[in-house]
Amino acid sequence: MTSLLTPTDKVGFNQVGFEQFLERRIDPIWITELRKQAWATFQSMDWPDARSENWMRSDLRGFKLDKYLPIDETEPQKVVGAPVRLIEGVDLGGSIRMDNGLATSEALDQKYAAKGVIFGSLSRCARDHADLVKKHLQKQIESGVDRFAALQTAMWTDGQFLYVPKNVVVDKPLHIECAMGDGSTDLSHTLIVLEEGAEATVLLESNSPNETSGGCHIGGVEMELGARSNLRFVGLQDWGNAAWHFAHKRARIGQDANIQWTIAAMGSRFAQVDQQVHLVGPGASSHVNGVLFTRGRQHITYNTIQRHAAPHCNSDFLYKAVLQDRSRTVWRGMIKVDVGADKTDGYQRNDNLLLSDQARADSIPGLEILADDVRCTHGSTSGRVDDELIFYAQSRGFTRAEAIRMIVTGFFQQIFDRITIESVREALGVAIARQVRQYD
């Protein structure tokens, strides 16, 4: 594939752009070094090979990196018009606002700060809490995993850092809003560290000003859960439907720790997300809920891995997708069980509901099991809405669109039931209902 780097006399995601970016930064030296190494990696790599397993169903040719410019953080960033969905009626314990990948406001309830909780801009925390950030940043995502990870590691602009000390419980949800302007970029990074016995709830949403907005998001998320800790993490992605979205997301779960991770992907023109949960301590558990709801010409790919590296762990991934128009979803789910990971309980399921003849759903659940004392199952179903249900609803006075809206909500109900945060359930329900196409 030909290089998508611009000629060097013009600023972009190129050598000139990178050097200017470095000059503007106020990073500790160790971060600058990481960035330089990652930039060298970025330059030495090609875009992912269309023949490789994870990319063979994703056509990257329409993606042109040279259409985007790195954000100049010396200029104030403000994205007007992006909605905020997850905070309705919620009593928050803290919030961070991001505009085009830069933190423009941050707040944390004093009672948590007093206990040593840190929640704020990643750039600032890398300076103010260097030891903590250095210990955990970029430890789970190798910059060489693909060109997007390399670029992210080299040129992340800002992000969020959440640190919860041992046995501290942050009982109120913490909110992060990421807004990306039309045609702009967001290269932010999320780093969450929970020490032993800590607990927190994080709501992260990504929005654009309009449904038709474009832009380019290249993100990374790393979550480290110490023994017996508990994290509920919700990510709602609703970028405009001309946006390109690439993200690597990792969570490492320690002994007897638990993560409840909810993902809702409804926006973007093209999304390629690599989501991995590594259960590294005995008794670790993860519950992942995925909602994919696509329309138009959207193409959303989720490559997920549940990795059991320790015994007595339990993982449960449920992804449900509803497809409209000419949209396409690709879902890959792999449960890997390492040698010695006895008493593993792994479960995975992907259900697809197709609302149009032009839609396409690819479902690729997988298992690689190297221990014998395990129980791993997966399932996948695909089908359409039952005509009788629509007819029944219409005979009760509902329009076809209303009927489909109810059926789609019913389809996702199993996911809603697994989300233990009321505001999220409601917000998702509203967002989904709004997205149901007006069918004749």
């Binding site: 063979m56 056509d59 040719r61 329409g62 023109r269 000419r326 069918y439 004749d440």
Partner: protein, 109 residues
Amino acid sequence: MVSNTKDFQFACKLSSLQPNQPQTFEIEDRFVIVVLLNEQVFCIEDLCTHDGGTFGDSQLEGACIVCPRHGAKFDVRTGVATCMPATEATLSHVVKVEGDDVLVQLRDN
């Protein structure tokens, strides 16, 4: 419902086409194959229905483009699949030539 007819859009210059040499062009954010065959211009979607991949550097055999990965063949005039392992037609688009401009009306089904 998604509309079936769109305007004609510019694909490429007629003078850039070599006889019997399929080439890939981008229209909006879709990719198509354009080929000059027996002095007529044809256009099909750059998509092999067998494995969903692109035609890339493929050759023409008669009136059929041959997918380099597994040998599936499609008639460039109609998009119809003529050889296993493909069984489904790929989209065939309408072509209009005005002067040196090759214009394509993209179809959706």
